[in-house]
Amino acid sequence: MLALQILIDGFAISSLYALGAIGFTLIFGVSGVLNLSHGAIMVVAAVIAWWVSGTYGVSPYLGALAGLAASLACSFFTYGVIVRPLQKSPSIPHEEKEIFVLTATLLWGIMLQEAVAYLFTNNPKTVRPLVEGVVRIMGVRTPWNEVLTAAVSLGAIALLYLLVNRTRTGKTLLAAAMNPRGLTLLGFELSSIYILVWAIYGLLAGGAGVLLGAFLGVSSDNAGTLTASAFAIVVLGGLGSVSGSLIAAYVVGYLETLTAYLVNPSIRTVPALLLLIIVVYVRPQGLLGRR
């Protein structure tokens, strides 16, 4: 019974982690940006969804849409106002671009987090779930919302997979990841590809944020932890490798769930961190990374 419970809970959490991390890895893979405001963008999406569906009493679907719109706006802002000017800036030497993007997105994340805390306080907020009720899966009482979380996460990831591997647009994304200069020589506008990537990213991060808000609840204080866990999952799986992130998300999700159920909920993140250290020392490119 407990084993089954762990299996189901772990699956839902892992799928959510995967959704959160996959946008992060996509941005890194295609444009080489590690976006440290990731967690804050997720929080914004969740809190806006909570606010719209809670205050105005509209359906939770509208709330979720508002959350997605908010994270999309944040994502475009991050790219247009922060990342792009830094990448274009002539006064920053090339080898230091990375640290500047890291520091700037970190600051931007703090600003988002503080703005949310100021406008909506930092109390934990639970977004009204899209579906109510419970279902028994082989005797384990599971909220429908948990099932929906896993289903939507996996659905979104499947759509992304189809987009990247089966469409022409997706192929240009892959090409941009492999050789941006070659792609521009073929006559593609690199900046429109980046805008597309950031749009996909905004939707993925927002979706993950809203689902997380409905599943576990979200507070503005979580922003840092959410970024760290996405970063950890992505490195564990191999920076830029989407399938690696997927596997890593399940490894981390189950490891945390097992620790929480069998050992002690207060140290749920520790085994995953230790695993991460070991993997980075032994195999720095991650599980499925390319070097």
Partner: protein, 305 residues
């Protein structure tokens, strides 16, 4: 040229800081004392980032190790303060070396991530063994540096000046040049016959030494060691912001950035919760429009050539 100009700026500034306790009240002195310890954190971080080219996301790992080693020795074995400080600095160097020797095989984001994870683990360990370490609440110390605000101020100012001089001297020395070369193009530096790994490790140990020592001094100033003041990710973030804001690869800029950061936080206190927002926004604007930071601009317009 650069050197003389730097001295022209630094010496009068130091004189003003030395005379400050005559004119301002204890509260401001307390703030500046805190800022000076932060300045040492930020300067040590800049040695690693600006010169060795390694992004250490976890300066508070080194700070925390130094601080908690000193705190535990003082709390449980009643060691007097000086040996506690030495032990704290030494422990930070050892921990830094243990972390750096394998981690320096990694580059860029991987190194950064390892240092970040190290902080998270340290934080978890401290909270987990709350019975010994005091956990979130903190560990109170029987000894403090001084209860007099201006004595504390002078301790911190002297400490910052000496550490700053050593770090700055190191950065300007041939070793600093080699470090800079290793940071910017490791392959070429190695091809010129310099042992890149050895130099980076040395830089990491120097950085760890001063971070640990400053962490230990800070807790003896505060009279308590807690996760929130010396280990939390937020501490590390502030250190990084201060260093980048002041101007990377200048060492002195890091000190200016720290004093600015603490001062701005205080001036904006009436804004309440929004103060962090405003400070971050200012820092972001500086990074976007003046990537050289305060000092970078000052030194550049003066005598670079």
């Amino acid at each position: 040229m650069l050197r003389s100009r730097t001295f022209q700026v630094v010496v009068p500034a130091l004189l003003v800081l030395i005379l400050l306790p005559l004119g301002v009240n204890g509260y401001i002195l307390g703030l500046l004392t805190l800022a000076y310890y932060y300045a040492v954190f930020a300067m040590s971080w800049d040695l690693l980032f600006g010169f060795a080219g390694e992004v250490n996301f976890g300066p508070s790992f080194l700070i925390g190790i130094g601080a908690y080693t000193a705190a535990l020795l003082n709390h449980y074995w009643s060691w007097p303060i000086p040996p506690c400080l030495v032990a704290g600095a030494f422990a930070a160097v050892v921990a830094g070396a243990v972390l750096a020797i394998p981690a320096l095989r990694l580059t860029g984001p991987y190194f950064g991530l390892i240092t970040l994870v190290a902080v998270l683990l340290l934080q978890n360990v401290l909270v987990l063994f709350a019975g010994i370490t005091g956990g979130e609440i903190g560990l109170d110390l029987p000894d403090v540096l001084s209860i007099d605000a201006s004595t504390n101020y002078y301790y911190a100012l002297a400490f910052m000046t000496v550490s700053g001089a050593i770090l700055y001297g190191l950065a300007q020395s041939p070793v600093g040049l080699i470090l800079q070369a290793s940071g910017q193009d490791a392959i070429e530096a190695a091809a010129l016959g310099f042992n890149v790994a050895k130099h980076k490790l040395a830089a990491f140990c120097m950085s760890a030494f001063f971070s640990g020592l400053a962490g230990a001094m800070l807790i003896f100033y505060l009279g308590t060691a807690s996760v929130g003041t010396v280990v939390d990710i937020g501490v590390g973030v502030n250190v990084i912001i201060a260093a980048v804001l002041g101007g990377r690869r200048t060492i002195l800029g890091a000190a200016v950035g720290s004093i600015f950061l603490i001062g701005a936080g205080e001036i904006l206190r009436p804004l309440g919760q929004l103060s962090t927002f405003v400070v971050s926004a200012i820092a972001l604007v500086v990074i976007l429009f003046f990537p050289g930071g305060f000092m970078g601009r000052l030194l550049q317009s003066g005598g670079r050539e």
